[in-house]
């Protein structure tokens, strides 16, 4: 098949359903008199007015900043501790039940506790995100480090690859598929915690704005906020997929060849 045609078909498959759904929403809501479900056109106009204004700096930026700092913190702490625990058998077995317990706590339940400690400022919200998102990264890193191939491990040891070089060239690459899987879970937990911590107590941010809109019955504004949160989640997951494809290219290639596909 010609490349152009193939691209066209892919694009067709990707766009048809979304276009149909949005059109249906548009038409169905066009002369909606339901106060809670305003016309899509109104929502979209409001979207521009609300978010491409002062709020971009005052609400969107603080939220996204807290999210990124918290998420990065969770990944750094999770991978760091995970490598440590994964490499030490006794330490791992001592800490395992405690870590499993922390992973099992629904992360938003930690918000009231952490706000007791750290107030309701930016630091507290970053800590909330770290403390909830760190567990999947940590436990997956432990698993990944533990499962490093024995032959590779012994080979690199006999070649005298130790210390940082061992970490850089053996442990981290071998554990990366697991680590990335943990990072994916951590990302969605981070977004949830960003929103919830702002809904719980805040003076700015996306979660705060959306709840304010709802409480003051600014319905189109509320819908536009929900759309924005949805878009944020979508864009971040897209960026993550790009990151994953780059980092794990070797791994997916290996899997394919093992499964005997081309």
């Amino acid at each position: 098949m010609q490349p152009v045609l193939r691209w066209g078909r892919t694009l067709g498959y990707a766009l048809t359903l979304p276009v149909v759904l949005v059109t249906l929403w548009w038409v169905w809501s066009a002369d909606s008199t339901n106060y809670y479900a305003p016309p899509l056109q109104t929502i979209l106009t409001t979207f521009g007015d609300v978010w491409f204004s002062e709020r971009l700096r005052a609400d969107v930026l603080p939220s996204v900043t807290r999210l990124l700092i918290g998420y990065t913190g969770a990944v750094v702490v999770g991978v760091g501790l995970g490598v440590l625990l994964g490499a030490n058998r006794t330490l791992r077995r001592v800490t395992e039940p405690v870590l499993e317990f922390f992973r099992a706590i629904p992360p938003p339940a930690l918000i009231p506790i952490l706000f007791l400690f750290a107030g309701i400022g930016d630091t507290a919200k970053v800590i909330v995100i770290i403390s909830g998102a760190v567990w999947p990264v940590l436990l997956n890193t432990v698993e990944g480090v533990r499962a490093v191939d024995d032959v590779l491990s012994d080979t690199s040891r006999s070649y005298g690859v130790t210390g940082l070089a061992r970490l850089r060239h053996l442990v981290l690459p071998a554990a990366s598929p697991q680590i990335v899987a943990g990072m994916r879970q951590a990302l969605s937990i981070s977004i949830i915690l960003m929103v919830i911590s702002e809904m719980f107590a805040s003076t700015n941010g996306l979660g705060f704005s959306v709840i304010q809109f709802q409480r003051s019955f600014a319905i189109p504004e509320m819908w536009s906020g929900i759309l924005l949160l949805g878009l944020l989640g979508f864009v971040l997951s897209l960026l993550f997929q790009l990151f994953e494809r780059r980092t794990l290219r070797w791994y997916h290639g290996l899997r394919r060849s093992q499964l005997g596909e081309n």
């Binding site: 077995r93 001592v94 039940p97 706590i105 339940a109 009231p112 809904m199 989640g233």
Partner: protein, 277 residues
């Protein structure tokens, strides 16, 4: 040392040293838990952290035990578990049903892929204000959040699972003229089952998170609402006690999901290898 063992004696001593009797994992884990509890007790007692924000572990436990003596506590637990169970049930039925359908019909899969990829990462908590307006405060709103969060986890896994059907098995089923239902029952379902169980495990954890969160932000009842109430009335030890309890609930959910996974997949090689190794 056997005749075929050509390693130098020094290297041979290494495994011998490793074979030193090791404490079983359960004992070591218990040591870890006790040490952690002791740490939680000592940090406030020694004044390293303020006991006002961080009461000693014994006080957290006492507050929890006291609460556990009231009907209110168990009613809240029942509400959380109910929202979790109903929500997860709906998500399972919808996720498995739609997943089997979308996964086995190529055209459907192509047309829905982009929409699923768009809707899946939408954070369920973004729906909170909408749920409050459309469904009011209560179980229905909580269920909307729980179902939305766990549905995508399950759906995606089922779709992956259905596509994983072994080509040879599929051709064989075709040559034996297996009917549509027989194919679903004996070919697609067993292939997809490991993926379904992964979806169940992930979905069960996420469902509990949302069931508690709904209470925390005040749209539902249950343990989350109790935590928020304890915090606003400044009952600090009780806040900790309740959080510990939701953690234990989470552990039970995770363990139950793992046991279920192991039971249903006892025949499957990934579990068999896991058990053997």
């Amino acid at each position: 040392m056997s005749a075929t063992d050509v390693r130098p004696a020094r290297a041979g001593a290494e495994p011998a040293r490793r074979r030193r009797p090791e404490l079983p994992s359960s004992v070591l884990g218990l040591v870890g838990l006790v040490a952690f509890a002791a740490l939680l007790e000592l940090l406030p007692r020694t004044g390293i952290v303020s006991a006002e924000y961080f009461p000693p572990f014994s006080e957290m436990v006492r507050a929890l035990v006291e609460a556990a003596g009231t009907d209110r506590f168990w009613a809240a637990t029942a509400e959380t578990v109910q929202a979790w169970g109903i929500g997860l049930g709906i998500a399972l039925v919808a996720g498995i049903g739609l997943g089997l359908l979308i996964g086995s019909v190529e055209v459907l899969r192509r047309f829905t892929a982009s929409t699923i990829e768009f809707l899946r990462p939408v954070p369920s908590v973004a729906l909170i204000p909408l749920a409050v307006l459309l469904l009011g405060l209560g179980l229905q709103s909580t269920l909307l959040l729980v179902v939305y969060a766990s549905f995508w986890q399950i759906l995606i896994q089922v779709i992956y699972g259905v596509q994983d059907v072994d080509p040879v098995a599929r051709e064989t089923a075709r040559s034996y003229h297996l009917g549509r239902w027989a194919r679903v029952r004996y070919l697609i379902w067993p292939t997809a089952l490991p993926y379904v169980m992964t979806g169940v495990r992930l979905g069960a954890a996420v469902a509990l998170i949302l069931a508690v969160t709904a209470g925390l932000v005040g749209i539902g009842t249950g343990l989350g609402a109790e935590i928020a109430l304890a915090q606003s009335s400044n009952a600090v030890p009780l806040v900790y006690g309740l959080v510990i309890f939701t953690g234990l609930l989470g552990v039970v959910v995770n363990l139950a999901a793992r046991v279920l996974e192991r039971r249903t997949l006892a025949w499957h090689s990934s579990v068999r290898a896991d058990v053997g190794g």
